[in-house]
């Protein structure tokens, strides 16, 4: 098997298994927060972005409206647009491949690809992680949804505690340094203050506005918060170290600059 000799393919496969497996928790939490089996599967098949999927069911579970759930999921999906731009510069997919590449453009496939230096490896890493996670994530979502619907009272099993843990685990790798931690604290406070005064789900959107304002008016790392939930190059280590980050950014910049369209701005970060 020549393909398995590729480091990017091997990383892609292991990240697919690690990420795909936690589709179980998504599936189980989704059906216990009130979505049915096919709504749960629609999120994994069509929306396919872990954070946004958890956000959607998290708002529904808290009694929020459909429109609030949609808004939270959509705001959280903005970073995939940034990843798409980076991947387009790295891989230059053409024709129908662009449309497929877009669907599997998520934290982990981007990180697997941009962690490689050779263009062929970057391509292999992206597709292996992207397609691999897509298949396993959907498979394990189905497993979790079927298991979850037979659980009875979700509170008795601590499934509301599981949702809390899942969101904290999604947040955790993005909290490196004082600044992201401060943003998290400010947004959490804004949320708590808003809860009694506005309908369920809306406090989350207020926090999003606060976060956007912080991003607009402050000048920090431009890749703050853009980390995969499961780091392909440091599996099981919640945090990505800075040198790795810098390499990834410089590399994306080098590619962007090769296209002759400006200065490497995304990479100011981390340096």
């Amino acid at each position: 098997m020549k393909l398995l000799a590729s480091p990017a393919v091997r990383v892609g496969i292991s990240i697919s298994i690690a990420t795909g497996l936690y589709g179980i928790s998504f599936g189980a939490l989704s059906v216990t927060s009130g979505l049915d089996f096919w709504q749960t599967m629609a999120l994994s098949l069509l929306l396919f972005s872990g954070g946004s999927q958890f956000a959607f069911i998290g708002v529904v579970a808290g009694g929020g409206s459909g429109i609030a759930a949609m808004s939270a999921a959509t705001l959280l999906g903005m970073r995939n647009g940034i990843y798409g731009m980076q991947l387009n510069a790295l891989l230059h997919p053409t024709g129908w491949r662009r449309y497929v590449a877009a669907q599997v453009t998520i934290d982990e496939s981007t990180a697997t690809s941009s962690g490689q230096t050779d263009p062929d490896e970057q391509r292999r890493g992206f597709w292996t992680a992207g397609i691999g996670i897509y298949i396993l994530w959907n498979l394990f979502t189905a497993v979790g949804a079927l298991a979850g619907s037979g659980l009875g009272d979700p509170g008795q099993w601590g499934l509301d505690g599981a949702a809390v843990a899942a969101f904290l685990a999604l947040l955790w790798p993005r909290l490196k340094g004082r600044e992201p931690a401060a943003i998290a604290v400010v947004c959490a406070l804004a949320t708590v203050v808003a809860v009694p005064f506005v309908p369920a789900g809306v406090p989350i959107l207020i926090a999003a506005v606060v976060a956007a304002l912080i991003g607009w008016f402050s000048h920090g790392r431009s890749d703050e918060g853009l980390e995969p939930d499961v780091d392909p190059y440091h599996p099981h280590h919640g945090r990505r170290d800075r040198s790795n980050n810098t390499r990834r950014d410089n590399q994306v910049d080098a590619h962007l600059d090769k296209q002759g369209d400006g200065h490497g701005q995304t990479g100011q970060a981390g340096t």
Partner: protein, 103 residues
Amino acid sequence: MNLWIWLLLACVLAYAWKLVGYFVPAKLLKDPRTSRIAGTMTIGLLASLTIVNTVASGQTLAADARLGALAAAAVALAFRAPFLVVVVVGAGAAALLRLIGWN
């Protein structure tokens, strides 16, 4: 049925974000501010979702077993436990606290 509409709209918009990156000229998205807002908003939303799921019950605030789940998950994460382990620890802590009588 109503939820289906918002759910499918969320799916369309998620795909739209992803496509934007591939089709909008890189210059537009290269403004560091754009990627910075995408990042701070990701942190803000996840922090907000964490706390809402911990202390909110509809429009009221409550201190219950979910606080224990938050603390237990933080400890698991500090020990660099993988995602699924963290989730199971969170569930276990909440279930255990309820079993010993803390709602």
